[in-house]
């Protein structure tokens, strides 16, 4: 068996995504898009709906395409390449949680609306910023046939637009996943957060004894599944981001001259550029290997692959973003230069769902013992 099984569907979706983003979201308009994130999301979402992307992982009987996260990877990769910060990742994660943990009734209730283009999100991180998804303080208490939710979630992407959000909370000493609807969200305190990646719309949500019907508690929550899905999608974004930032670097190294020579001719720039290229190739290989493992269904293999992809990619992207600034000299220090957009994206990706050191600490026993 090869490490990477690349399906015909993946191949087709990759080709469609490459063309879609090139045509609708050219890289030279990143700054304009950031000025109008809502408009850019509308445009992306309309296109995604038309191409069926909003239903990729949703089973056919709920209006989707019955494909897997592996087929989502090429789309997210191209989003990363073009620095799109749409609700696509959070929506896909929310759907993944319901597909894997929801009952038939729950699936029937929540999935079709997303397949038709609804937006969703997940609230898994809390104020202390722990990456361990079981570190949950938000609490759910069953009282009089209702769940009373209390606590606070941070880094909830696109919470303002989401039709529902999948939130983690402790119920009876167990970490559970709960669906919170728009109507219920409207009773919460939602505050926008200042985050380093300006393509993101991030929010904190406070639940003050929010009443939720028990039917919104997911039956068989599996946090490992959800974490692997998150790691896979962020790694896809990282892989795309790496190829995007490498392009930014190359275009400067081959046009900017100092001392009468293209600066790309200096080895102190040329060699790191090659290092970035090779780190991109490695990240992309880890990514598609992880995608294949996830489809294969072996839990341990999937965990190893997903953590490896995220650990390796995080560091590679952070390095590339950092070098992109340095290699642009004074221009790299400006807001106008695309290098900063990629560095900020790299920092976001590095510190959401665990940095390299965090994943290494879980990989060590899996790989060594």
């Amino acid at each position: 068996m090869t490490a990477i099984e690349f399906s015909d569907e993946q191949s087709m979706i990759l080709e469609t995504a490459v063309n879609f983003f090139r045509e609708k979201f050219p890289v030279n308009e990143i700054h304009e898009r950031n000025e109008n994130l809502d408009g850019s999301t509308d445009l992306f979402w309309a296109g995604a709906k038309e191409l069926g992307w909003t239903g990729i992982v949703i089973p056919e009987n709920y209006g989707g395409l019955s494909l897997s996260l592996s087929e989502v990877v090429p789309i997210v990769e191209m989003m990363g390449r073009h620095l799109i910060g749409s609700p696509f990742i959070p929506t896909t994660l929310a759907v993944t949680a319901i597909v894997s943990a929801g009952s038939e009734e729950q699936k029937a209730r929540w999935l079709p609306s997303v397949a038709e283009g609804g937006i969703a999100s997940v609230g898994l991180t809390e104020e202390d910023g722990s990456w361990n998804l079981s570190d949950v303080k938000t609490n759910g208490e069953v009282r009089d046939g209702e769940l009373i939710l209390k606590g606070k979630k941070c880094f909830v992407l696109d919470a303002k637009r989401a039709d529902f959000i999948v939130v983690s909370a402790i119920i009876d000493h167990v970490v559970s996943l709960i669906i919170v609807t728009r109507e219920q969200l409207n009773k919460c305190i939602i505050r926008s957060e200042v985050v380093i990646d300006e393509t993101r719309q991030s929010f904190s949500i406070e639940f003050n004894d929010l009443k939720i019907p028990l039917t919104q508690i997911l039956d068989k929550p599996d946090l490992n599944d959800l974490e692997n899905a998150a790691l896979l999608l962020i790694s896809a974004e990282i892989s795309g981001g790496l190829s995007g930032v490498l392009r930014v670097i190359l275009s400067y190294l081959t046009t900017r001259k100092q001392f009468g020579k293209y600066i790309g001719s200096y080895q102190s720039l040329k060699h790191p550029a090659v290092q970035i290229l090779l780190s991109l190739e490695a990240t992309r290989s880890h990514l598609y290997h992880a995608a294949a493992c996830l489809s294969g269904g072996d839990k341990i293999k999937t965990e190893v692959a997903a953590r490896s992809a995220k650990a390796y990619g995080s560091d590679a992207f952070a390095f590339a973003g950092d070098r992109a600034i340095q290699f642009h000299g004074g221009f790299g220090f400006t807001y106008e230069c695309d290098a900063q957009l990629f560095l900020r994206r790299a920092l976001w990706c590095q510190y959401q769902f665990g940095d390299a050191a965090y994943h290494h600490s879980y990989l060590a026993p899996l790989l060594l013992d």
Partner: protein, 400 residues
Amino acid sequence: MSVSPTELAEFEVQADRWFAENKPEKPGFILPETFMEVGTDEQFKFLRAWQNKVYENGYVGLSWPKEFGGGGLPQVYQDIATKAMATHRVPFLLNTIGLNWAGPLILSMSSSEDKKKYIPSILSAEEIWCQGFSEPDHGSDLGNAQCKGRKDGDDYVINGSKIWTSLGMYAKHMILLVRTSTEAESKYSGLSFFLAPMKTDGIEVQPIRKLTGEYGFCQTFFNDARIPASCMMGKEGDGWRVAMATLMFERSAEGGQAGGLSMMDLSIDDVIELAKRAMRNGKPAIEDPFIRTELVKLIVEAKGNVYMADKAEIPALEGEWPGAVTMSIKLRATEFKRRMCQFAISLQGANASRYIDDRAVDEGMWQRSYLNAFSGTIGGGTTQIQHNIIGERILGLPKD
């Protein structure tokens, strides 16, 4: 001049007390980290008033001659005052280019008349200085600067533009490198150096937004701007030599600066302290074995830099590569700061993804400092250029 140890000790106590008592309250707005990030009028006014107060109370320019407003004292007095500023974490002194580059240059080269004209107002921060070296097409290759100066009567008529001018919006004077001859023997000998008044018809500045989202430097345009020939430093064609002398002050490879804190002083101790507070996976970061190893590596590196400064004072230990330590001060300090801030961010768990805001760890200071750290690794000669210089001048390696 001999220094009495008791007097020094007294001065130390006095300086310590003064900065403890006079440290300004946090203003209601975010302060810049260095003179390169002064982007708003309120920041500017606050910092200018602070430097003025420090000067009026005798804590900057202590080693500069009395007749030009300095303290006329040995350097060690200034070192003590500067250290007190760092200890008490007071704001930095705004007029850095004047105090530490243009000032020492003027003191070492100019006429007594010019010293009287420029030096006192540098110290009091009444007149702010900026530097017009880099151009859009010539940064590292400064010797190729193309902004032109043509002699016309008693003036030079300047045309072209300079870029990344820190404090350009507020400066009264600019140290300016201009091409006054295109027929010179080499690119270097066609350059001349001016102490140029910024309030001149034909000089315009346009602010540029930085990667942090803030302002603080600008592009300076010259359109038939007439600068008096009397503002030239040295002779026509001396520009490169004078510019190199300036850069030696700028990179701290040469002494003579007025001293004082020139940037918000973030050290490895601050990172250690942060590691105790910041939470990584539900625990203080300092409990994480990986963090401990990385932090120790940084501490050892920081100590190496401190010891190197002492070693450089001992000629017998100079070894085979004299100058390696002094010539690399800027390189080592700026690269260390970049990596240190990168590391400080990693202590914060998922909160590392935040940016300037009251919900971020230390209000997002570390994220901002990391982005700002590139001012050090790019400005004043990039890290890559510093490596070239040290490789060629110290190790005697061939040029590429």
